[in-house]
C-alpha cells in the first residue's frame, strides 16, 4: 500500500526548526498547489506562515494520547442513496462555462505527463 507520500513515510514532530519556513520552502509548497508567487510575496509569506506554524505548534502542549480525531462536522454514519439513475445536466449547461471547448469536449493545451 502506498504511503502518504509514495515513499516510506516519516512521521515528524515539529521542532522549532520545522516551524520556520524559508522562501524556498514556501515556493515548493506553492508549486504543489499550482501557485506561483513573486520573490517579494515568497519572503512575506515565509514570515507570516512561520508565525502561524509557531502558533500551531502550541498544540503540542495538549495531551491527545488516545483521543479520536474529529474529521467530520457531526457523528452520523451510513448515509447512502439508492442506485437509481437520474437525468444528467443538459450538455449546453455542462459546457456553458467552458473556457475552451471543441465538439462537445473540454479543450486543454498540452498535458505534459501521464497521471
Amino acid at each position: 500500500m502506498e504511503t502518504r507520500d509514495g515513499r516510506a513515510g516519516a512521521a515528524a514532530e515539529p521542532g522549532p526548526a520545522a516551524s520556520r519556513l524559508s522562501a524556498a520552502d514556501v515556493a515548493k509548497v506553492a508549486a504543489q498547489a499550482r501557485l506561483r508567487l513573486t520573490e517579494e510575496e515568497l519572503e512575506k509569506l515565509s514570515g507570516q506562515l512561520s508565525d502561524i506554524l509557531r502558533m500551531a505548534a502550541e498544540l503540542k502542549a495538549l495531551d491527545t494520547e488516545g483521543v479520536e480525531p474529529t474529521a467530520h462536522g457531526l457523528p452520523i454514519y451510513n448515509v447512502l442513496r439508492d442506485d437509481v439513475p437520474q437525468r444528467s445536466m443538459p450538455r449546453e449547461d455542462v459546457l456553458a462555462g467552458a473556457p475552451e471547448q471543441q465538439d462537445g469536449y473540454f479543450k486543454v493545451p498540452r498535458i505534459l505527463e501521464e497521471a
Partner: protein, 505 residues
C-alpha cells in the same frame, strides 16, 4: 449624514419580515412596491456602502410579480413569500452570476440553484442580488473581496466584519429585509455584531450545504441575518431541513421555531465560559455583555461560570483544519471547466497562471498553509493533532451543556475596527474570531444579537451558544433577552432613530 428618508414612523426599510407580512396580507402593500422600494434604496446607498456585487433588479421584480399574482389567486403563500432578500455571493443562483468575490469566478453563472435558494424560490422570495464578501469566505472584514470595498453602515471608515460583510450591511442599512450568509469561523456572527443586527449559524448539518461554494467542508454552515429574533426563527423554518443531496445534512425533524418562541427568563440556565471572559476584551464590550447578563439574571435566569479549557487552543486548531480543507476545496479552480483561464502552452502552466492571477493574497496564503499542513511528514503533527484537539473542544462543550442550557459571551473582543487596520497582520486579523471559532469546531448553533454600543456608538454583539440541534434553546435565550432589552427588535431598537451614515449626493 442622514440618508434620504427621515427616520420617523417606521419606514419600510426598517420593518421586519413579520411586520411586512402583515402589510402584504392586509393588502396595504404589494411585493412589487416593496421590492421596488428596496431596489431604490440600494441605488441610493450602495455606491458608498459596497454591500452588493450583483443587483438582480429585473429578476427580483419578476419574482415579486409572481408572488403578488399567486396571492391574488388565493394561493397559500409562505410567511417569507414576497419579502425581498439578499444572498451572499457564495450561494449558487441559477442564471445569476456567482463569484465568491474572486476574480477566478468573476463571470461564472451557475447552471443550478443551491438547495436553500430552491427553497427561497419555492417561497417566492424576491432575490435582490448577491452580496459582497471576503474572497472565498476567507477573512473577517470583507477587505479581501476582489471587487469592492464594503463599509460599516454606522461608520464608513470601519469594516462591516466578514466574511459575510455584504449580507450584514444589507440588513443593517435597510437594503434587504433579511439576508443569508455563511459561517465557518464566525463569518455570520461577527459581521452581525459589527453591524448591529441579528446573525445566526445553525448547528452543523441543520442546513443543506449543497450549492454553497465550499471553504471548509466540516465547518461551513449557511445562516440568516435579520432585524429581530422572530425573523430569525422564520428564516430557520425555511432553510433548515434534511437534503438528500448533502450527505452531511442531518435527517432530523425541524421544529417550528417561530411558533415556539417564548420570553421567560425563569428557568433559563446560562453558562459563562471562564476562558472567554479572561481574554483581552474592550471595556465597553465587556460592560455591554455583562449588562445583558445582569438583566437576564435580574429577571430570573441562573448564571453559572463554566470552563472550556481546550478553547484556549481553538484558534490554532482552526488555522490548521480550515486552511487544509480549503486548500483541497479550492483545487478545482484550475481553469479547465469553468471560471477564469489564463492561456498557456501546457496544462501545468495554464493551471498555475490561472490560479496565481485569479486568487488574491489571503486565499493564496491559506491554500499554501493548508497544503503544507496536509503534506507528507507534516500531516500527523499538524492536521491530525488539530483534529484531536477538536475532539477535546467538542467534549468541553458537551460537559458544559450538562449543567446549563446555553452559553453567553461576547461575539467579538472589540467593536468594528478601521479599514486597513489589520490587513498587514494576518494573525491579528485571525484573533477577531477567537470567540466564534470554537462554536464551528464543535458544530454547535450560535447566534449574535446587539446588546449595546461603545463610546463611539458602534454596536456590540452578544453571542448565545447552544447544544447540538437545540436552536430552540438559543432562540429562547435570545428572544427573552430581546423582549427585555430591545422590545422593538434587537436589530433596530438599539439604534433608536439613528440612520445609516451614508452621504447621498
Amino acid at each position: 449624514m442622514i440618508g434620504g428618508k427621515e427616520a420617523g414612523p417606521l419606514a419600510l426599510h426598517n420593518m421586519t419580515a413579520h411586520e411586512l407580512r402583515q402589510k402584504l396580507d392586509a393588502g396595504e402593500l404589494s411585493s412589487r412596491e416593496l421590492t421596488e422600494a428596496f431596489l431604490k434604496r440600494i441605488e441610493q446607498l450602495d455606491g458608498t456602502l459596497g454591500a452588493y456585487l450583483t443587483v438582480a433588479a429585473e429578476e427580483a421584480m419578476e419574482q415579486a410579480r409572481s408572488f403578488d399574482e399567486a396571492r391574488a389567486n388565493g394561493e397559500a403563500v409562505h410567511p417569507l413569500g414576497g419579502i425581498p432578500v439578499a444572498l451572499k455571493d457564495n450561494l449558487c443562483t441559477r442564471g445569476l452570476r456567482t463569484t465568491a468575490a474572486s476574480r477566478i469566478l468573476e463571470n461564472w453563472v451557475p447552471p443550478y440553484d443551491a438547495t436553500v435558494v430552491e427553497r427561497l424560490r419555492a417561497a417566492r422570495s424576491p432575490i435582490l442580488g448577491k452580496t459582497n464578501m471576503d474572497e472565498f469566505a476567507m477573512g473577517s472584514s470583507t477587505e479581501t473581496s476582489a471587487f469592492k470595498v464594503a463599509r460599516n453602515p454606522w461608520d464608513l471608515s470601519r469594516v462591516p466584519g466578514g466574511s459575510s460583510g455584504g449580507s450584514a450591511i444589507a440588513v443593517a442599512a435597510g437594503m434587504a429585509v433579511w439576508s443569508l450568509g455563511s459561517d465557518t469561523g464566525g463569518s455570520i456572527r461577527q459581521p452581525a455584531a459589527y453591524c448591529g443586527v441579528v446573525g445566526m449559524k445553525p448547528t452543523y448539518g441543520r442546513v443543506s450545504r449543497y450549492g454553497l461554494l465550499a471553504f471548509a467542508s466540516s465547518l461551513d454552515q449557511i445562516g440568516p441575518f435579520t432585524l429581530d429574533i422572530t425573523d430569525c426563527a422564520l428564516v430557520l423554518n425555511l432553510i433548515c431541513g434534511h437534503d438528500p443531496r448533502d450527505s452531511t445534512s442531518v435527517d432530523l425533524e425541524v421544529p417550528d421555531y417561530a411558533a415556539s418562541l417564548r420570553a421567560e427568563a425563569k428557568g433559563l440556565r446560562i453558562g459563562i465560559p471562564k476562558e472567554y471572559m479572561s481574554q483581552p476584551i474592550d471595556a465597553d464590550v465587556r460592560a455591554a455583555v455583562e449588562g445583558a447578563l445582569k438583566l437576564l439574571e435580574e429577571n430570573g435566569a441562573q448564571l453559572k461560570e463554566v470552563s472550556l479549557p481546550s478553547t484556549s487552543y481553538a484558534l490554532q486548531t482552526y488555522y490548521m483544519i480550515a486552511p487544509a480543507e480549503a486548500s483541497s476545496n479550492l483545487a478545482r479552480y484550475d481553469g479547465v471547466r469553468y471560471g477564469l483561464r489564463v492561456p498557456a502552452d501546457d496544462v501545468p502552466r495554464m493551471m498555475e497562471e490561472t490560479r496565481s492571477q485569479g486568487f488574491g493574497p489571503e486565499v493564496k496564503r491559506r491554500i499554501i498553509l493548508g497544503t503544507y499542513v496536509l503534506s507528507a511528514g507534516h500531516y500527523d503533527a499538524y492536521y491530525k493533532k488539530a483534529s484531536q484537539v477538536r475532539t477535546l473542544i467538542r467534549q468541553d462543550f458537551e460537559r458544559a451543556f450538562r449543567e446549563v442550557d446555553v452559553l453567553i459571551a461576547p461575539t467579538t473582543p472589540t467593536t468594528a475596527f478601521r479599514l486597513g487596520e489589520k490587513t498587514q497582520d494576518p494573525l491579528a486579523m485571525y484573533m477577531m474570531d477567537i470567540f466564534t471559532i470554537p462554536v464551528n469546531l464543535a458544530g454547535l448553533p450560535g447566534l449574535s444579537m446587539p446588546c449595546g454600543v461603545d463610546k463611539e456608538g458602534l454596536p456590540v454583539g452578544l453571542q448565545i451558544i447552544g447544544p447540538p440541534f437545540r436552536e430552540d434553546l438559543v432562540l429562547w435565550a435570545a428572544y427573552t433577552y430581546e423582549q427585555l432589552a430591545w422590545p422593538q427588535g434587537a436589530g433596530r431598537h438599539w439604534r433608536a432613530g439613528r440612520e445609516v451614515a451614508v452621504d447621498v449626493r
